[in-house]
């Protein structure tokens, strides 16, 4: 790993570890729709931060802004103090890796090859060395394979290395996505609904995997709908409702916040963002649909 941050189990210590990701005033508009509205978010090294919110709140859109898939209309995202260029491959190179809400593996490649693709930014050999096949090429390939196998062992997929990704069961596909993301040696891992569609046991296993990743010194930002998962896991939780950050704080703070409960249960009350500017709920939903279509393109 490039980042060798010592294990920092408590949020207080983590904060001392320094800021890893800083998003300032991120706004994302699709035509007339504002999917993400002026969101600030900070992730410190060694932290697990949760991002929750009702469907269509703009969580995935915000993720896409962070990873360069979208260029934010306004605002900046910086990683370790430098502003990130809005190109996905450069963001990954800088040290942010991600998984996708709807699994996006390279279906017709083997499990091992998927992870090797994740190593792309950390290896150098180009076309020429591939054709000439000097000793350097073999050395780099071997190192890549060893590292990939380590990651597969870490995620528990080592015995399936030669299988096609498409033939893995659902839960293992999720794990493989995480292994592939880890292969790029990130300092920050973004997980987009890592437990969607999982049974309680698998969710529990994913939880342990995320802790193990954090213990390796990688900060994690996770979107999830499973509240038990989020509150068990996260040092800090941010709540996004209709594109705006409603609350941010520890699990207790968020769990006890009336506005969060209202946002999820749909109870009307004064001071909710939807009431303030009168944006109908459907708008945010549409924005999210648009974002997913963009994603699929």
């Amino acid at each position: 790993m490039t980042t060798t941050i010592p294990q920092q189990p408590t949020p207080a210590d983590a904060a001392a570890g320094g800021t890893l990701l800083q998003a300032r005033g991120v706004i994302m508009r699709f035509g007339g729709l504002t999917a993400v509205r002026n969101v600030d978010l900070t992730v410190n090294s060694g932290e697990i931060v949760g991002l929750i919110g009702p469907n269509g709140a703009g969580k995935t859109t915000f993720f896409n802004c962070l990873t360069g898939l979208y260029v934010p209309t306004e605002g900046t995202v910086s990683y370790r103090g430098t502003v990130l260029p809005p190109k996905p491959h450069l963001v990954t190179k800088a040290g942010i890796a991600r998984t996708f809400q709807n699994i996006r593996l390279f279906a017709n490649m083997t499990v091992l090859e998927n992870v090797l693709v994740g190593r792309h930014t950390r290896t150098r050999e180009g076309l020429f060395s591939a054709i000439v096949r000097g000793p350097g090429f073999h050395k780099a390939e071997r190192a890549s394979r060893e590292r990939a196998m380590e990651l597969l062992a870490f995620t528990g997929l080592a015995d399936k290395a030669e299988h096609l990704a498409r033939n893995l069961p659902y839960g293992e596909q999720r794990k493989l996505e995480i292994a592939r993301a880890l292969a790029s040696e990130p300092g920050l891992l973004l997980l987009d609904e890592p437990t969607a569609g999982m049974n309680p046991q698998e969710t529990r296993a994913t939880e342990e995997l995320v802790f193990a990743i954090r213990d390796q010194g990688i900060a994690v930002l996770v979107i999830e709908h499973d509240m038990r998962f989020i509150f068990n896991l996260c040092d800090r939780v941010a709540v996004l409702v209709q594109g705006e950050k409603l609350v941010e704080g520890t699990s207790e703070v968020v769990q006890n916040d009336e506005r969060v409960i209202a946002a999820y249960l749909g109870e009307p009350f004064e001071g909710a963002p939807a009431d303030e500017d009168g944006t109908p709920a459907a708008t945010a939903d549409d924005a999210s649909t648009t974002s997913e279509q963009e994603n699929d393109r």
Binding site: T67, L69, K87, P88, H89, T92, K93, A97, R98, F100, R104, L105, F106, A107, N108, M109, T110, L112, E113, L116, V117, G118, R119, H120, T121, T123, E125, G126, L127, S129, A130, I131, R133, F137, H138, A140, E141, R142, S144, R145, A161, E162, H163, L164, R166, N167, R180, A181, S184, N295, D296, R297
Partner: protein
């Protein structure tokens, strides 16, 4: 191979009889002994019939009037019937012939019987149709007709391995009945129900054989392949060639049903270096195996289009970019080579580059052209890219047409092209002259065939090595999911541009030889689609037909698409039509192409492979994961 363990295979057959909705059952209910007897009797009758006279006159191609020995199309029937009989005896348990069907299925017998039936009935019907009526048939013809039918019926009564597809929706059948096409619907349903299935049957591991025996088998198979190929090319009439194709295609299918092909793949996989060496030697032996300039020309042309198709395979098969103007890069290479060849029609008629320099110049020019076209177009995805490349391909041809000194600067001599390109001379060996090597003579086309073979080997090496590397994996990742690939840190545009430029360079390289083989370059062949082979549609069809992402697929596809129209002269007017039909059939029944990609094989055979490295493979694709060290 007789000492192979058969117990394992028998176990496998027993297991499949009950597994899922797979089952082993005949189409015609007959007692097993009766079915076997009918099959053998059919084989014997058919074999006997080929020694009789089939028609009265010698008007029919191949002279089938002679009694006493087979001739012309009778040879096809004879080969088919003997093969069916022998394989059948093997599946019936005759020691010494069991190795012919390692998986112990009867499906192979049925398919071989089908091959025999096909070629025999084709012959008989062709005689009747060509000469005007059944009156032209001798008794021998009728005997053959009946014999092949008996053989096929006997094979249908053997217990066959089947795996019916799930029946379609009940609604679908209802619709069929309502529309009054219920017979068609029922026929289709019957076909699904009847589906033969043998790809999952287990085959004893051929790698347990003695190492030297394995190598001997490889040599024999390659030599046999060369013999079969030259035999096919030597057929004088399209009628005989059609019979040959039927026996060859269905026969190979039948032998592979029994698992022989799978075992052979295990052998070549196990002796990789040895088998590729034998393969190259076989290819070198081709111009020596026959002494016909026409075939050598055919061989050289096939290698040229095959090599270009392989270059296209990098772009289409690996990276997933549909390029419809690819033939332009062949043209760039050819024109570059022509300009520096010393031809009197070239604007630089004084300069004559040595071949290596001309080849590098052709490659370089094509590469530059590839980057020029790629840089603006590769930002598009999917269909848009296809349309734009189609346009650029045409632009190349039109520009070349107009650089004639009238409509534009004089560079390419316009529609007249650059003629009188002199033959190449490499190390004092003039490729235009006839040389004798020992007792063999190598004509002009044989020389070019050998030169082209060297280039094909280079391109194959470049393809396999590039595919199995960091850059190759990123190509495949882009093909699979471009968004995810960029999110994994791949610079999509750059990687695609590299693929485009590499594909273009390889086509340019082949183009330099192409210019010299044809003696002249003109703009007309470099179109999107036409009846003369090197056009973009042809190359694309070769890649799709042969198998995307594989090495031998595009070469095989190009060979088939080039040779078959040459041998079947009556097809010339319907060539594009036949292309279309062939592609539709391939897409419906074998979408992965004739030679399936390793990944496809994994998809189908994954459950057979508990441990990595122990995988039976038809791996000629990209030795992606094993060849690291």
């Amino acid at each position: 191979m007789t000492d192979l363990p058969i117990a394992a295979a028998e176990e496998a057959v027993a297991a499949t009889a009950t597994h899922g909705n797979r089952r082993t059952a005949p189409f015609i209910p007959l007692p097993l002994t009766a079915a076997r007897a009918t099959t053998l009797a059919g084989a014997v009758i058919t074999i006997a019939s080929t020694f009789m006279s089939w028609t009265y006159t010698t008007d029919f191609p191949g002279d089938l009037t002679v009694s006493g020995y087979p001739g012309g199309l009778q040879i096809m029937t004879l080969i088919g019937a003997i093969l069916t009989g022998v394989v059948a005896l093997g599946t019936f348990g005759l020691t010494g012939l069991r190795w012919l069907t390692p998986s112990r299925t009867n499906n192979g017998v049925l398919l071989l019987a089908l091959a025999t039936l096909g070629t025999t009935w084709y012959t008989v019907i062709d005689i009747a149709a060509k000469l005007g009526g059944l009156a032209n048939l001798d008794p021998g013809g009728f005997v053959a007709f009946i014999g092949a039918l008996v053989l096929f019926a006997g094979a249908l009564a053997l217990p066959l391995d089947r795996h019916p597809e799930e029946p379609a929706d009940a609604e679908y059948y209802e619709l069929g009945r309502a529309e009054g096409i219920s017979a068609v619907v029922r026929g289709y349903a019957w076909l699904r129900e009847a589906r033969l299935h043998h790809s999952e049957l287990r085959v004893p591991d051929a790698r347990k054989l003695n190492r030297w025996l394995q190598r001997l088998v490889i040599v024999v198979v390659y030599a046999l392949g060369l013999k079969i190929l030259t035999f096919g090319l030597a057929t004088d009439y399209s009628d005989i060639f059609i019979g040959y194709l039927i026996v060859l295609a269905v026969g190979v299918w039948g032998l592979s049903a029994g698992g022989l092909l799978k075992q052979f793949q295990q052998l070549t996989q196990h002796n990789k270096k040895f088998s590729s060496t034998v393969g190259v030697l076989t290819a070198i032996a081709y111009p020596f195996a026959q002494n016909n300039e026409l075939w050598a020309n055919l061989g050289a042309s096939v290698l040229i289009v095959g090599t270009v198709a392989l270059g296209l395979n990098i772009v289409v098969g690996l990276t997933g970019l549909l390029d419809l103007g690819y033939v332009a890069f062949l043209g760039v290479g050819a024109y570059t080579a022509a300009l520096v060849s010393g031809s009197p029609f070239s604007i630089w008629s004084g300069t004559q580059f040595p071949f290596w320099a001309a080849a590098l110049a052709g490659m370089g020019a094509a590469c530059v052209f590839g980057v020029l076209i790629g840089a603006p177009t590769l930002r598009l995805r999917g269909d848009y890219l296809a349309i734009v490349t189609l346009g650029f391909g045409e632009i190349f041809r039109i520009i070349v047409r107009n650089l004639d000194g009238v409509s534009g600067p004089k560079v390419t001599n316009g529609p007249n092209g650059i003629a009188q390109i002199p033959d190449l001379s490499i190390f004092g060996y003039n490729l235009g002259d006839t040389h004798s090597v020992g007792s063999f003579t190598l004509g002009r086309f044989a020389n070019y065939y050998l030169l082209m073979l060297v280039i094909t080997i280079i391109v194959v090496l470049v393809f396999t090595r590039a595919a199995d590397s960091r850059i190759g994996r990123s190509w495949i990742a882009i093909r699979e999911d471009e968004t995810a690939a960029t999110a994994m840190g791949i610079n999509g545009f750059r990687v695609k541009l590299v693929a485009f430029a590499l594909g273009a360079s390889l086509a340019g390289l082949a183009g330099t030889v192409f210019a010299h083989v044809t003696n002249s370059v003109v703009p007309d062949p470099y179109v999107f689609s036409g009846s003369v082979p090197p056009n973009s549609a042809f190359l694309l069809a070769a890649v799709v037909l042969g198998g995307m992402g594989t090495v031998s697929g595009p070469i095989l596809g190009a060979a088939l698409l080039y040779v078959i129209p040459q041998k079947l002269s009556f097809l010339s007017q319907y060539e594009l039509f036949a292309f279309g039909i062939a592609l539709i059939l391939i897409m419906r029944f074998r979408p992965e192409g004739i030679i399936p990609n390793r990944r496809r094989q994994l998809e189908f055979h994954e459950d057979e492979t508990p441990a990595p490295g122990n995988r039976p493979m038809g791996d000629d694709t990209v030795p992606a994961t094993t060849a690291g060290a």
